[in-house]
């Protein structure tokens, strides 16, 4: 089904081919039928072994025939002497080698080889490794072969360190051997495990000793200079940089007496178990509270948690304790801790050593960039390093990289625009939190295509997101204290359920979007607090008589261009 070129043939040729094909089909079908018939008759013997050999040489992914072949082998083994058994395994391995030569990417053949080697009383794993080397020399990216090699390594006494050297050799002989870079990322955590393992997925680079990890940047710089167009090294560097693993911290503690609601905001999505570590005290007495996630799909980790707190005097002192830290609410409704942003923010924290290495690496890349100013991978590499090292002071340069990327690689514009949105929001968080005034936040006209980290803004009252390029409401559900939300001039096609979590929303402006469907607007009826809605300049108004909409929203101020009602 793959790579078969359609060729035009003359009628004569076609007729000759047809005849030839018919012969082949007859033979193939004959052998297949006989195999099935013999199996049904229970004749699991040498004769059947030979028949399966004929068919599998032809069609190495015919799983049922492989199954039958295994049944035959199992049967023959039950009555064979030791010598005959050894001979049978030897013959089978030889046959499989022939199959691999015809089709080195057959699932069925590799599966059979695993099975044979697992059952072989006298396995020669060295031979298997040599075989893998041979097939990897034909095709260094054959993933079946890589997997079989790892399987064989697991059975032999070969250390991860030796394998790390093997991967190095593979990379040295061809820098764009992605399979070898991949293997390296799996071996480093085995060879040099980090002392303290943060809870993370196994694929994370934080599981590698930092000094060893930093040495890898030399290999990467080297590789980028040798071939600046290679993507393998870029993906590898991205992994080396790591991700921001922060300890869970409380961002906000809020109380809304009118909603009878207590609210906790964490610096990252957390599981419900973590709420067991939270204590809320009212005038010194611990409250029994039932926390529920706010705005995430059921059972997902969530950064916002709410609990019902009925009829509490607003002048009373509420205290929230979480991991040796306490937040107090007294007469105000929001409390944000004065914490080190490094500790809670979404940016990667760097050790001095890492910062130094990245700096050197970045300088080298920038040098390369001056020679190759249009090279996309150089821009990406420099961007990523600058973002990690010092996003604030290199913001202008980072924005230049984004522009260059959109220009040089327009097909992936969507990706770069989202990344840019993340960068702009991420770098805006520290100043927002430092200000400690959460009355309003202006994020308009930034070209945002996606919202990231919005839980950091969950204490804001007035939010301006107008004149961006948002296509959906993802990320809005955490804006729980928002009373005025301006989404004018975006690319929203519908009102989504995220908006229902904005329980204090009073004014919503959706001017000049692409909202077409009335039923999505009807969702807004479910928000009791809302009393002003602007939907001017949306396609829905072209199709619908605005007076009908006005009737729908009779209890609020609706602005839809032509008329306003109250």
């Amino acid at each position: 089904m793959h790579g078969r070129v359609k060729v035009r043939t003359s009628e004569e040729q076609a007729a000759a081919k047809k005849l030839e094909r018919e012969k082949k089909i007859k033979k193939y079908q004959g052998v297949t039928e006989e195999i099935y018939a013999r199996r049904e008759a229970g004749s699991l013997d040498e004769e059947l072994l030979k028949l399966t050999e004929t068919l599998l040489a032809w069609n190495p992914d015919h799983y049922t025939v492989w199954n039958i072949r295994r049944e035959v082998i199992v049967n023959i083994l039950t009555y064979s002497e030791v010598e005959a058994k050894t001979e049978l395994f030897k013959r089978e391995l030889h046959f499989l080698e022939m199959c691999l030569k015809v089709n080195p990417k057959s699932y069925g053949t590799f599966m059979q080889r695993r099975w044979v080697m697992s059952n072989n009383p006298d396995p020669d794993w060295k031979h298997e490794l040599a075989l893998c080397d041979l097939f990897l020399s034909y095709d260094e990216r054959n993933f079946h072969c890589w997997d079989y090699r790892r399987f064989s390594i697991g059975k032999s006494e070969i250390s991860p360190m030796e394998e790390l050297e093997f991967s190095q050799k593979k990379i040295e002989s061809n820098l764009s051997n992605y399979s070898a870079w991949h293997y390296r990322s799996k071996l480093l955590p085995l060879c040099y495990p980090a002392d303290t393992l943060l809870p993370s997925v196994s694929a994370d680079s934080s599981s590698v000793q930092e000094d060893k990890l930093l040495q890898e940047f030399d290999i990467v710089t080297n590789a980028i200079f040798t071939d600046p167009n290679d993507q393998s090294t870029w993906f590898y560097q991205q992994w080396l940089l790591g991700r921001a693993h922060k300890e869970e911290r409380l961002l906000f503690f809020m109380h809304f007496p009118s909603n009878q609601m207590l609210l906790l905001v964490f610096n990252q999505p957390v599981n419900k178990d973590l709420l067991n570590e939270v204590q809320v005290l009212i005038s010194g007495n611990i409250l029994q509270l039932e926390w529920s996630a706010h705005g995430s799909p059921p059972t997902w980790p969530c950064s916002l948690w709410t609990a019902v707190l009925i009829s509490v005097d607003t002048s009373v002192n509420l205290e929230c304790r979480f991991r040796e830290r306490a937040l107090n609410l007294f007469t105000s409704s929001v409390c944000a801790p004065s914490v080190n942003l490094e500790e809670i923010g979404p940016a990667i924290s760097l050790t001095a050593a890492k910062s130094g290495v990245l700096h050197t690496h970045c300088e080298a890349i920038c040098e390369l960039l001056s020679i190759e100013p249009d090279n996309k991978w150089c821009h990406l590499t420099a961007l990523q390093l600058r973002w990690a090292i010092d996003p604030d002071s290199s913001a202008a340069k980072i924005m230049d990289h984004f522009s260059a990327l959109e220009k040089e690689d327009p097909h992936r514009k969507g990706c770069y625009q989202d990344m840019k949105s993340k960068f702009l929001i991420e770098t805006g968080i520290p100043s927002f939190l430092k200000k400690r005034d959460f009355s309003h936040l202006n994020l308009s006209g930034l070209g945002l295509t996606r919202l990231y980290h919005t839980h950091f803004f969950s204490a804001v009252s007035i939010l301006d997101l107008s004149n961006n390029r948002l296509t959906n409401m993802q990320g809005l559900s955490v804006l729980v204290t928002c009373q005025e939300l301006n989404l004018d001039g975006n690319l929203l096609t519908e009102v989504e359920e995220d908006i229902l979590f904005l329980i204090r929303l009073r004014i919503l402006s959706l001017k000049s979007n692409l909202i077409e469907k009335e039923d999505s607007l009807l969702l807004l009826e479910k928000i009791d607090s809302i009393h002003q809605l602007n939907i001017e300049g949306n396609p829905i108004l072209k199709e619908r008589d605005s007076s009908l909409l006005i009737n729908l929203f009779s209890n609020l101020i609706l602005n839809c261009g032509a008329t306003s009602t109250s």
């Binding site: 820098l175 997925v201 694929a203």
Partner: protein, 334 residues
Amino acid sequence: MAVSINDVKLPDIPERKSLLLDLHVKSLETYGKDKNDLEYVMSEYFRMNGVYWILTALKLIGKEDKLEKNEVLEFVLSCQRPNGGFGGNIKNDPHLLYTLSAIQILAIYESLDKIDSDKVADYIAGQQQEDGSFIGDKWGEVDTRFSLCALASLMLINRLERVNIEKAVDFVVRCMNFDGGFGCVPGSESHSGQIYCCLGALAITNRLYKVQADVLGTWLCERQLKSGGLNGRPEKLPDVCYSWWVLASLKIIGRIKWIDADKMKDYILACQDEESGGIADRPGDITDPFHTLFGLTGLSLLGHYKGEIKPVNPVFCMPEEILEKLGIKIYLLR
């Protein structure tokens, strides 16, 4: 050492500028009618997959009546083995790969009542291993493809609780790599087909939050080449079937806008055969139902030809309307 960029050049054939739907229907309908096609004969052992590809493609364009429903159902049911699993054809052994296709066909025909769901669920649950992985059949091959087959089948017959979900998820997560992608088994390199399977498994078990969407999205959108086509791994040739594995993956993680939809469309259309219909892996190659389906589903995911191709579900690769009827709702990332 310079990298050789593997790509193809799109031919300039006027007929291939539009979607040749009528021809595709004809090719899907007649596929296999010529019993003297060697390829067809050699693929008899996975006929169940073939029927699923053809039926799904036809259903997506509202032409499912081109297949004889009763004949198809009879075939599917005749492939069920005493242990509850389905084989690829009447004389073939049960395997998860064909069990999923069989269930998908029955679901599309709204005929799931024709099988004993508990019995099928027994078979599937029996394939789960201690580490949460699934073996394809009794011979013990482990692969994340089989995790998807098992979980998707169970979801369709409403028996998901029959397996250990926590362990199934753990195994899939153990297959995650430095690039955010997934491989066949822990340690294996990322591959778009495998990524699709793992994302599907995580979507069905409602664990998509475990995915590093931006890291993976970057890798996936780098699969698009200058021709507009998508490849399955770095440095490989483009292929229409990746317009399913890659696009469905991007859709599941909410990053489908990260590739160029118009270029993708140009590539898929260029792989059409304007004489005999159907879509091939690359322009000028022989077409087949597998690539015809995945060309059409790719166009559907991107929102092209909305009036002609129905919306396809990115996890199950079936028309959305079927999943709605079954009441299956899956949370995707946005």
